[in-house]
């Protein structure tokens, strides 16, 4: 095959030889202004997903004797990160972190959460006793339980118990008034939560609210006079979500999967067997005790191990670490295994869903 000449033999060679001098000239001619320290997209990204936000309690409203709605506003000049209806925040007190779904809507600039004495954790206790003006630190908005128009479509069914009511309300409020979207929301709980039921009032006609005493009537409520909904959201306690999901198991009422928020990811109720746990972190090593009835993540947090965690239901993968020695039992939440296939292959675990079965050694 003959040589391919583009312009002319000599010009092609000349142009090749000129490539580097031309490059040098271009660089020489460029500005010597210092490079930017930040970029618009990166700034927006940081605003959307802050690790921490400083907030002040701007209002406390009692729903009933044991339940309050607490609203946070930004404590500095910045605005709080926008969230998606259904998402929540993590709040840490001491070594304990609790997740609270946000009950307000994305259009409100503030975040409101529902705090109940029934929860009996240190964070709820602190919040229930806090005054207006108290300042604290919260996480950025987080969680995969949220409504997406493109994915979830225009006919939505929400089923919740008392502990899952906040995210359901947020989604209802978000969709309220959208003529093209119909929402059916079923709250399963006793009459003694009038305050909570009241939160579903004042919504537009496109939101139909029902209350059921127990899970028995849910399926009928959800499906009566209803074609296949485009999305089904279930939020509440582990047992409640499991029972509710089972009602739809054999039906083709819902295509795809049921989206779930579990408020009390199950802690395995086995023996209180004690094991030793060694954590390798950077070039340090930490040793402490862990128990068969707690997750490894709980043991890490109790011992102030510098671990990352967000969802605690195995979904986000932030706590991913390598199991170097020992054996764990993985307890899935809502039946969904969120481990990457490559991570499984290479011996990684999600400590938030792993209970020790032997002495353990992990590498963060």
């Amino acid at each position: 095959m003959g040589r391919l000449i583009i312009r002319s033999f000599s010009e092609d060679i000349k142009n090749f030889r000129n490539m580097i001098p031309y490059r040098k000239k271009k660089i020489e001619e460029a500005s010597a202004t210092a490079l930017p320290r930040n970029y618009g997209v990166n700034e927006l990204s940081a605003k959307l997903h802050p690790d921490k936000q400083r907030v002040r309690i701007s209002s406390v409203e009692a729903l009933d004797g044991r339940t309050k709605i607490i609203t946070f506003s930004s404590a500095d000049k910045t605005s709080l990160a926008p969230f998606r209806a259904g998402q929540g925040i993590n709040i840490k007190v001491g070594t304990e972190t609790e997740f609270f779904p946000v009950v307000s809507v994305p259009d409100d600039k503030d975040y409101s959460i529902i705090v109940s004495a029934a929860c009996e954790d240190a964070v709820s206790e602190l919040l229930l006793n806090a005054d207006e003006k108290t300042e604290l630190e919260i996480s950025g908005p987080t969680g995969l339980f949220y409504y997406s128009q493109l994915r979830d479509g225009n006919s939505v069914v929400l089923i919740c118990d008392f502990s899952g009511v906040a995210s359901a309300i947020s989604i209802c409020r978000y969709l309220s008034g959208r003529a093209d979207t119909s929402v059916r929301v079923i709250f399963v709980g006793e009459e003694e939560n009038p305050g909570v039921c009241g939160l579903f009032e004042n919504l537009s006609e496109n939101i139909c609210f029902f209350r059921e005493k127990d899970t028995d009537g849910i399926y009928e409520r959800a499906s009566e006079n209803m074609n296949t909904p485009s999305a089904l959201f279930v939020s509440g306690k582990d047992a409640f979500c499991g029972k509710t999901a089972a009602l739809f198991d054999d039906s083709d009422f819902i295509r795809g999967r049921i989206r779930m928020y579990i408020s009390d990811p199950e802690t395995k109720n086995a023996s209180a067997e004690k094991y030793s746990c060694q954590v390798l972190y950077r070039n340090e090593s930490f040793s402490f005790e862990c128990f068969a009835n707690e997750t490894l993540l709980a043991a890490f947090e109790r011992n102030n191990i510098p671990t990352q965690a967000k969802c605690k239901v195995g979904e986000c993968g932030y706590c991913r670490c390598k199991l170097v020695e020992g054996d764990v039992e993985s307890v899935l939440c809502n039946g969904i295994d969120s481990m990457r296939s490559a991570d499984k292959k290479y011996g990684f675990i999600h400590p938030c869903r792993s209970f020790p079965k032997t002495d353990i050694k992990v590498k963060l």
């Binding site: 040589r3 583009i6 580097i20 031309y22 660089i27 618009g40 927006l44 926008p82 995969l144 991570d343």
Partner: protein, 511 residues
């Protein structure tokens, strides 16, 4: 204070490749990664019952597992990892659809140079001879690229190499200019240009040499992907690193590099930890290193000017769909879809600055290469495009989520229009990665996923030929190894840039 032979900033393809070579050659190496997960753009994530691939469409330079050629393949063999990874063959090169009325084109092209040229002849009679001529040049280009980086003075060696081959004549020119000298029907030229989006540069500008070496690698070597997504490649590289006593620290963001008297000395982590090292290798962008990590007074003017002269390549946007119908039921027969309104690449590239006008995409149906990629009765489809403007920094936080969904919906429309396949009704899982997402997880400026734009003065050849001289004038003991470097963007570029960087470090240490 702990001291290392080399500290690598970033556990992406480039950083891990570099660290692996150094550790294998006995260096005490530490890789620092800001994220909780190694891989940078490479990796996977789960939603419901689906596991999505973040970035890898095709791994250039690896070829098929049963055909051990290619630079990436020989590198993996050198590290001893090729056999540890389970590979799935990519079935065909691509399907390209141009959908503008009057400019319609719908071709599916096979791998293998013979097969490719014959198929082109079928679609565009009279093209085979021209196409073969191009691939013959392509072979020379690819082999030259593979030799770049070996320890011989660059310019002299390249010149000698090129003099032997006919392709020296094409070295200074664009794809379009070279094509203008090839006697081939327009339609065949359009087929030839199909991969332009992978370099994010129109064919009037992109260097023929660079484009051709990539095309040759894909078509001649064919392609395979790791079954467990690119995360498997990363996990394997990490394991290999650790088996050679190299270390990886996750959640360890570097916020400073200390430079004294023109020599870099140590890195500083966000929590204040300081780590001394003889060499510092950056897997992140020069913009970040010279703009953020190093005190402005210590940054050489040449580096500032060079960075200022450069342009960022595309900012990534990807729609990930978990569909609750099988690929077969939906009619998604191909793995890789290039969807373009037409083949005026210059015009299309310029329209990729705004969401209203960006109709270009490269879509992948993972199940076509890896049938078990998702549960029975489902499949995974992802659609990728690029923005070559800073549109996504004009969006406010409040409108961000709706803008993102709006554009994702637009991309689905374009896909449906081009293929006549309805996917919208079967969305079970949806995730949308915008430039903000890429910035969030890797710190990349403006959400750029493709490094620096290959301008006419800043192509792969020019970068490679200037590397030695420019490094000489830079901060001592500071190196770069990534898709921002001399081989431009992509897995193979980042991996081999990391490898070559390690050999430069080792050579210097020997001296």
């Amino acid at each position: 204070m702990v001291k290392y032979d080399t500290v690598v900033i970033g556990a992406g393809n480039g950083g891990l490749a570099c660290a692996n070579v150094l550790a294998k050659n006995g260096q005490k190496v530490l890789v620092l990664e800001q994220s909780h997960r190694p891989g940078g753009f490479a990796g996977s994530f789960r939603r419901g019952r689906f596991e999505f691939e973040v970035s890898l469409h095709e791994l250039c330079g690896f070829g098929r597992y049963d055909k051990p050629f290619g630079s990436v393949r020989s590198f993996f063999d050198y590290l001893g990892i090729s056999d540890k990874i389970a590979w799935a063959d990519v079935p065909e090169a691509f399907r390209m659809i141009n959908f503008n009325p009057g400019k319609e084109l719908d071709v599916t092209m096979p791998f293998g140079i013979d097969e490719f040229c014959r198929k082109a002849e079928e679609y565009a009679p009279g093209s085979e001879k021209g196409m073969r001529k191009l691939f013959a040049l392509g072979e020379e280009c690819r082999l030259t690229v593979e030799k770049i980086g070996k320890p011989v003075p660059m310019v002299a060696k390249l010149y000698a190499l090129m003099k032997k081959g006919g392709f020296i004549h094409t070295a200074a020119y664009s794809v379009d200019e070279v094509l203008s000298k090839i006697d081939m029907p327009e339609k065949a030229k359009d087929i030839f240009k199909a991969y332009w989006i992978y370099l994010d540069i129109d064919t009037e500008t992109v260097s023929f040499f660079h484009y051709m070496s990539m095309l040759n690698s894909y078509i001649e070597l064919k392609s395979a992907i790791p079954v467990c997504r690119s995360q498997e490649l990363i996990n394997c590289l990490v394991e290999c690193l650790e088996s050679n006593s190299g270390e990886l620290w996750l959640n360890s963001k570097v916020i400073g590099i200390d430079v004294a008297d023109g020599i870099c000395k140590k890195v500083i982590l966000e929590d204040g930890t300081e780590i001394e090292a003889d060499n510092i290798v950056c897997n992140c962008s020069p913009h970040l290193v010279y703009g953020n990590l190093i005190d402005k007074k210590s940054v050489p003017e040449l580096e500032v000017k060079k960075a200022n002269a450069r342009k960022f390549n595309g900012r990534g946007f990807v729609v990930f769909l978990g569909l609750n119908k099988s690929a077969k039921e939906l009619g998604l027969d191909s793995y890789s879809y290039f969807i373009y309104p037409d083949m005026d690449t210059k015009k299309q590239h310029s329209l990729m600055s705004r969401p209203e006008t960006n109709d270009v995409q490269a879509a992948i149906c993972l199940n076509a290469a890896n049938p078990e990629a998702s549960p029975e009765g489902t499949c995974i489809l992802s659609m990728t495009t690029l923005f070559n403007s800073d549109y996504w920094s004009e969006v406010t936080a409040e409108e961000y989520f709706s803008k993102k969904e709006e554009f994702a919906s637009h991309m689905i429309d374009v896909f449906e229009k081009a293929t006549n396949i309805r996917v919208r009704d079967y969305i079970e899982e949806l995730e949308i990665a915008s430039p903000e997402t890429f910035a969030r997880f890797t710190g990349t400026p403006q959400g750029t996923i493709y490094g620096y734009h290959s301008q006419d003065w800043d192509g792969a050849l020019q970068r490679a030929m200037s590397l030695a001289e420019e490094t000489e004038k830079g901060i001592k003991n500071l190196y770069f190894a990534s898709g921002w470097g001399e081989k431009l963007l992509g897995y193979s570029s980042a991996l081999t840039a990391g490898r070559d960087c390690a050999f430069r470090v080792l050579r210097k240490e020997k001296k």
